[in-house]
């Protein structure tokens, strides 16, 4: 007991003496982090909306043009719309942004684009490329899709390879394909230009969006910014039509 008490006294002296060393150690740690970052660079900038106002809480992605593989790094802008992305391997990056919870789609997906251009930024070793202005894209609309089997009114299975295809009318090469959630309604952002909706699934007739009483094989859908449109899609099994 006494020994521990004496040790405590000793510890007080040691703590008082090394107080400055701890600070120095912390500084060294920062320097080490700097060293770890050797061979990399950084990008800093600001996300602005169409009116030039900073956007808080936007995601900012940096995709390296030379090797855009693997996990996509991103950061979130602060109150002033400012962001910094560190530890980037030198190269040319496409810097894009999105704020999907507020209806702003990724600006590096041509399906949504046409109004803004994601900036190209050159990153060099040990340098921070600053002043990058990243424009937020136009506000999109949202499509909520619910897909069932028309014969049984039940949900489809994963093995039926359900594909939802959205295609712009003004440029049919700009499309997006995704595998919708089969257990619940599935939401996806859509541009405010006319587009078509198709669904394919193994064992089912190909489905195309058509307006009620339309004689067209396919109709276009056009939604204003911010609107949420629900589509209840009942797929008809092939066997019911003899296909």
């Amino acid at each position: 007991m006494r020994a521990k008490f004496l040790f405590g006294l000793f510890a007080v002296a040691i703590l008082a003496a090394i107080g400055g060393i701890y600070v120095a150690t912390s500084s060294q740690s920062q320097l080490m982090q700097h060293d770890v970052a050797a061979g990399t660079g950084a990008i800093t900038g600001q996300v602005l909306d169409a009116t030039g106002q900073p956007v808080k809480g936007a995601k900012v992605y940096a995709d390296r043009n030379e090797a855009p593989m693997g996990r996509r790094p991103y950061v979130v802008t602060d109150e002033q719309g400012v962001f910094t992305i560190n530890n980037l391997v030198p190269g040319t990056y496409t810097v894009s942004t999105s704020k999907e919870e507020d209806g702003y789609a990724p600006t590096d997906v041509p399906f949504y684009a046409g109004y803004v251009q994601a900036p190209q930024v050159i990153v060099t070793e040990r340098q921070t490329t600053s002043g990058v202005v990243v424009p937020l894209g136009p506000r999109a609309a949202k499509l909520t899709v619910n897909i069932v089997d028309a014969a049984t009114n039940t949900r489809l299975r994963a093995s039926q390879n359900v594909q939802l295809i959205l295609r712009r009318i003004d440029n049919p090469n700009q499309a997006i394909t995704t595998g919708p959630d089969l257990k619940r309604p599935f939401s996806i952002l859509v541009p405010t230009v006319p587009f078509t909706v198709e669904v394919s699934a193994t064992g089912y007739q190909h489905w195309r969006y058509r307006q009620v009483k339309s004689n067209n094989s396919i109709d276009v859908l056009e939604l204003p910014a911010g609107q949420v449109q629900r589509l209840d899609i009942a797929l008809r099994p092939d066997k019911y039509t003899g296909n």
Binding site: L9, V12, Y22, A158
Partner: protein
């Protein structure tokens, strides 16, 4: 005399600190239930640190309430003196799944030999937890001072303490990946681009929080051989995965499979092909845990995952 008394008090405090195992214990109780009087859903969470924890730590906590996996409310709290709790009411939708998550984060509150409280990392807690999130269970113990002493890997796994209550139970440790979305956004140069957005889940498919993940590549041969980098013949360069990194703020990450633009076209792509992509959970100072392994074939004109060129449905589990 006053100085001597102060010195003795300081010594006593140090004795207490050095001679006992300091323990930090945070219990988090979360609940989502139907609230009949108002026909609503009650989401409730409480973070309760024990006495020892409060002696050395303050804590912050934040959380989210989700309806069908969509965040409908976020909340923040914290205390240096007692518990923190949250409750919220939401319109009842019998067709919806509700969940609540809470992430308590301890903040070192250590006495230092100067007037007032200080924030000296006496137990090297920050070293242990830097950049990480502590994983379940929301309890840990350690002995100080000095680094790497008597810390149980079974109790400190990641870094920040958190608890998740979702779909009727508390989440377990990261086990595999669940697909959030599989999307093919067409590109300007015609090369196929595929985004696999994953969430790390436990063995029962419940969200397992924001953990660190890493991708490695290996051959499809048996036994497999590790591959450090893939060669991209579309751009005549290499892709080398960056190592262990934290997940995105919403507990997901997106794996981009793409040769890029501009591209040489045709069937140029990454080699070797096919290649096995393995995603790991990589907690700090703890062995890696494989979450999933899939074969990738990534070319200009098609991207195959396990031989499949079409999108997987959202919710598919990759083990």
């Amino acid at each position: 005399m006053r100085n001597s008394l102060a010195l003795m008090l300081l010594a006593g405090a140090c004795y207490l600190i050095f001679s006992q195992e300091a323990r930090a214990d945070v219990n988090t109780i979360t609940e989502v239930s139907y609230y009949e009087p108002t026909n609503s859903i009650l989401a409730w969470a409480e973070v309760i640190p024990d006495y020892d924890t409060l002696a050395y730590y303050c804590f912050d906590d934040w959380g989210e309430v989700r309806k069908n996996d969509v965040v409908i409310n976020s909340f923040w709290g914290g205390s240096c003196e007692g518990e923190s709790y949250y409750e919220g009411f939401f319109p009842y939708d019998p067709a919806a799944d509700y969940s609540i998550e809470v992430y308590p984060q301890l903040i070192v509150k250590h006495w230092i030999p100067s007037p007032g409280d200080g924030y000296d990392d006496y137990y090297n807690y920050n070293e242990w937890t830097y950049g990480d999130s502590v994983y379940f269970p929301y309890y840990f113990s350690f002995t100080g001072p000095g680094p790497e002493t008597a810390i149980s890997y079974n109790t400190i796994i990641l870094g920040a303490v958190y608890s998740i209550f979702t779909e009727g139970g508390t989440a377990g440790q990261p086990h595999h990946l669940k697909l959030v979305s599989d999307t093919f956004p067409l590109t300007d140069c015609g090369s196929v681009r595929r985004w696999l957005k994953f969430r790390v889940v436990d063995a029962n498919g419940r969200r397992a929080g924001n953990v660190r993940v890493e991708e490695t590549f290996e051959t499809t041969s048996q036994p497999p051989t590790g591959i450090q980098c893939l060669y991209n013949s579309c751009q005549s360069n290499n892709y080398c995965p960056p190592g262990c990194q934290g997940m995105d703020l919403d507990g997901t990450f997106t794996d981009q499979l793409w040769v890029g633009c501009p591209s040489a076209g045709g069937d140029c792509g990454f080699s070797p092909s096919p290649v096995v992509s393995r995603w790991w959970w990589c907690p700090a100072r703890f062995g890696r845990v494989s979450l999933t392994a899939n074969t990738y074939e990534i070319r200009h004109n098609q991207v195959l995952v396990n031989g499949r060129s079409t999108a997987y449905p959202s919710g598919t589990e990759f083990r």
